[in-house]
């Protein structure tokens, strides 16, 4: 382990990201740093371009009177220009604050104001409009710089500036101040704040986690070494820039390692662009893996039956083998012989079609992933590993090691990371990546940071082999009224393995039994319904079809069956469920933008439904508020059915 200590000492000449970009631009000026699919082809930018554009933008910002420590809000899809803006900000000793591009005005206003951003660098008209709308509430916001000027020609606000104009100003500024850039760059220190990532959190207002260059750099290097990343790796930069995962991979690790990141053309083309690029390093929250699995299942379902049978056979075979392998059991030999055939017929082509043919390293992180989903992708031959991390720890806490992947753990701690379990069973850890605190929020900082240890809020334990096992959010794990242990997330993930279930919320704390609120997947169920000739008009209509209830009941029964295998949890079977008449939506604050369920909100909002789940009626009337895309609100009324499910294994 001690080998990793060397990463703790940072050479002052190379201790911030701007300095490292400069190094890269010198050492490998013509290597590709960023590609962006734009105007139909992959436009490539070298490390020299990277540094040069960062410099130009920095000079532009400097010409506007940028001071060290100033915050720059960065809003938009993953675009090279925005990464350069992050770099430019750091060059001047400022702090970039990346924001979710789909944030509402309200959310945006809170963060921009709280972060005291003086500048905003945004992608296009959509973001400009939002920022202009909230400008009155954010008195410190002075300049809004946009990259794509389409539709903005008629805007006359003096605070607006295009990126091109900014760089032009920078050039002029550089003539009068030739040494400013180099000087500011050199003044950067490892302990400077490199970025503030606002975490939406499942409760309360967003908190701004500050991360220093040292935090990010040390962890990036440690992870690079342990996971064997190389300068010739390719990653897809498609996750929101505001998410620390993207910042770590597409910015910090890419710079520290020198690999190439690729920005997709638009949100609509991500899957297509993924296939074109065929990344070697891929990072996705469980949500994306679930969606991919759903897509695969739906499309296979549409195939003619011989092919469907064939594909299913080999997929099941691979999953069985993978499960045996993960459990360390001997793999039956004759089935192992079939695997190469499966590779030729199913796994290889499938990997290729998903754009994962070249993947050497893939992570799932952000939330627990359903074991079935996890096994599915590993069975295809993708080196998918669970990563346990937090924004506050510069992402990396523990990762499954290559060749030592287990289904039920999130792997062993990263080098330089210490983990301990509190008396209450909460996971605590400390590492060089641990943040100095939340921006302007000492109370929250104090709650989370305890003498250098971070309280994760997750319940878990280290097993005999040193693997970290997470049970659930510490405060979510509960017991039924009868005292049986009940882990909602665990059940929900099992439910979500079904392609037909998009989201699920299970309830059971101090209740006699477990009940579930289910969100169907409109694509998958719609497809299913069409094939059966079931007509429907809307999501609400489809969700309440008896046939759909039958379909979901099968899924619930499947989950219950699988619970029988677990001694501890077999008592917490789902006994009653209903299908929600609307999709859970971040705009209605039912889930976060990273798609974590907000249990509190849901419990309040759907109190009537939950009562029905524990009552004896089989129908219930509801009204729900919905927020439309333009911010208007409306009400949906519906008649929701409730259905009983018999306990599995009752006959035994």
């Amino acid at each position: 382990m001690s080998g990793h200590e060397r990463f703790l000492t940072l050479d002052p000449q190379h201790d911030t990201f701007p300095k490292l970009v400069r190094d890269n631009a010198r050492a490998m000026p013509d290597r590709i740093a960023i590609r962006e699919k734009d105007y139909g082809i992959w436009q490539a930018y070298t490390w020299r371009d990277y540094f040069d554009r960062g410099r130009r933008i920095a000079l532009g910002l400097a010409s506007l009177g940028f001071a060290r420590g100033d915050k720059v809000a960065v809003v938009g899809d993953n675009r090279p220009e925005l990464y350069w803006a992050v770099l430019a900000t750091q060059c001047l000793g400022g702090v970039p604050v990346p924001l979710y591009q789909d944030a509402s005005e309200k959310e945006l206003a809170y963060v921009v104001d709280h972060a005291e951003a003086r500048f905003a660098v945004v992608e296009d008209q959509e973001q400009v409009d939002k920022l202009l709308a909230i400008k009155a509430q954010c008195p410190r916001l002075e300049w809004i710089v946009y990259d794509d000027g389409r539709g903005l020609r008629a805007y006359s606000e003096p605070c607006l500036l295009s990126l091109a104009e900014l760089e032009e100003r920078g050039e002029k500024f550089a003539v009068g101040h030739p040494a400013v850039f180099e000087a500011e760059l050199a003044r950067g220190r490892a302990e400077d704040i490199a970025v503030i990532c606002y975490t939406s959190g499942t409760t309360g207002m967003p908190k701004g986690a500050m991360l220093t260059h040292r935090n990010l750099l040390v962890m990036a290097r440690v992870a690079t070494e342990r996971e064997g990343l190389r300068p010739d790796d390719e990653a897809l930069a498609y996750l929101p820039m505001a998410w620390v995962g993207d910042h770590m991979i597409s910015y910090a690790q890419a710079i520290a390692t020198g690999f190439t990141i690729n920005c997709p053309e638009s949100a609509a083309t991500v899957l297509h662009d993924l296939k074109e690029i065929g990344p070697t390093y891929f990072f996705a929250p469980p949500r994306i893996w679930e969606n991919l699995l759903t897509t695969v299942m739906i499309r296979v379902e549409d195939a003619a039956w011989p092919k469907r049978r064939l594909v299913r056979f080999f997929l099941e075979l691979a999953q069985d083998l993978e499960r045996q392998r993960l459990a360390g059991q001997p793999v039956s030999s004759w089935r192992r012989l079939l695997a190469p055939l499966g590779g030729l017929l199913v796994y290889g082509p499938l990997r290729d079609n998903l754009g994962m043919r070249r993947i050497r390293l893939a992570y799932t992180a952000g939330e627990a992933i359903g074991p079935e989903i996890f096994v599915f992708f590993r069975a295809l031959g993708i080196n998918l590993k669970q990563l346990y991390g937090m924004t506050e720890a510069s992402v990396f806490v523990s990762v499954q090691k290559d060749g030592d992947v287990r289904l039920d753990t999130v792997g062993t701690p990263m080098p330089l990371v210490d983990i301990k379990i509190s008396e209450q069973g909460e996971v605590l850890f400390r590492s060089p990546g641990v943040f100095p605190g939340y921006y302007k929020n000492p109370e929250a900082t104090a709650q989370t940071l305890d003498d250098g240890w971070i309280r994760s809020g997750d319940a878990g334990f280290l097993d005999a082999a040193g693997h970290l096992k997470i049970i659930d959010r510490a405060r979510d794990v509960g017991r039924l009224a009868g005292g049986t242990l009940f882990a909602p997330k665990y059940l929900e993930n099992k439910l979500k393995f079904s392609p037909y279930v998009k989201e699920a919320v299970t309830i059971g704390q101090d209740r006699p039994y477990v009940a579930a609120l289910v969100n169907i997947d409109l694509g998958a169920v719609g497809n299913w319904a069409e094939r059966r000739g079931i007509a429907y008009t809307s999501y609400t209509d489809l969700s309440q079809k008896p046939e759909v209830y039958d379909l979901i009941e099968q899924e619930v029964r499947r989950v219950n069956e699988s619970l029988l295998e677990d001694e501890v949890l077999r008592g917490a079977q789902i006994r009653r469920f209903l299908i929600l008449h609307k999709e859970l939506d971040p705009d209605d604050e039912e889930i976060t933008r990273t798609r974590k369920v907000r249990r509190g909100h849901i419990a309040r909002k759907y109190a009537a439904l939950i009562e029905a789940l524990y009552g004896d009626r089989d129908r219930v009337q509801v009204e729900a508020q919905v927020t439309y895309e333009d911010g208007r609100t409306g009400t949906i009324r519906a008649d929701v059915a409730v259905r009983d499910v018999p306990a599995a294994g009752a006959g035994r």
Binding site: G40, R150, G151, R153, A154, S266, T269, H272
Partner: protein
């Protein structure tokens, strides 16, 4: 400079007849530089006929049409295109067998030249030209946000997208005057909003003069600088939207018996 200051297009006293039917009688319309002009009127009022006359499909039996001050009454459609007039059609007229990209590329045919023997070889000027125009077309694809469908055959697209591709094709010609025949017909609210935004963006971004036919009064009032109202092949009103909305003749035409 009189040319540059006069109207871009002036239709002077034109009449068109099909057999006994007077489709247009002595209609005069001016389209000014950089404006968005809406042409409205009940069905059969002669709106599309007017567009067809301007684009050279029909020729008026009386009256004149001037474009940038020059008479061009008797030109054929390709000549009209060369003047810098592009248009879209009421019932989307895309090239169904070609991809979206190729559809838009055809919009640049007038800007491409060279000998066919050079095209046959592909290398050299023909190839450079082809790639340069591809780059130009990609700007339009980006502008109209149709990246995801660039290689899809046009015939397979949903209606709303087809309309957008048709607009892209017209834009590819970099026209001075853009004629849009019911660009929003058959679209849902969201698609209409998008299309309005694109039309306004085209107007402000490229300075393109636009004359459009539209039924949705809300849209007309929102985006047009000026409105011309036709009824029974005659012009009954011409002015800013607010004024036209209050015009008695217009109200009568719209509230009166619908004549198809």
């Amino acid at each position: 400079m009189t040319e540059a200051s006069g109207p871009l297009l002036s239709v002077e006293d034109i009449s068109v007849r099909f057999g006994a039917l007077m489709a247009l009688s002595r209609v005069s319309v001016e389209v000014h530089r950089r404006e968005i002009l809406a042409i409205i009127g009940p069905n059969g009022a002669g709106k599309t006929t007017l567009l067809n006359v301007v684009s050279g499909f029909y020729h008026p039996y009386e009256g004149r049409i001037r474009f940038e001050g020059r008479d061009r009454t008797s030109l054929k459609p390709p000549d009209v295109a060369e003047l810098g007039i592009a248009r879209t059609f009421q019932n989307v007229a895309l090239f169904r067998g070609m991809s979206v990209l190729d559809n838009i590329m055809t919009g640049r045919l007038l800007k491409m030249g060279g000998h066919f023997l050079l095209d046959a070889v592909w290398y050299g000027p023909a190839r450079r030209q082809e790639l340069a125009h591809r780059a130009a077309v990609e700007r339009i694809i980006d502008f109209l946000e149709i990246q995801a469908i660039r290689k899809t055959p046009a015939g397979r697209l949903p209606y709303g997208l087809q309309k957008r591709v048709e607009l892209a094709r017209a834009l590819a010609a970099e026209p001075k005057l853009l004629l849009l025949d019911e660009p929003m017909a058959g679209m849902n609210v969201e698609e209409k909003e998008d299309m309005c935004r694109f039309i306004l963006d085209v107007n402000s971004e490229f300075g393109t003069t636009i004359a459009l036919i539209e039924h949705d009064m809300g849209v007309v009032m929102d985006i047009s600088d000026r409105v011309v109202v036709l009824d029974y092949g005659r012009k009954i009103a011409d002015g800013p939207p607010e004024q036209v909305r209050k015009d008695q003749a217009v109200l009568d035409a719209y509230l009166g018996v619908a004549h198809d």
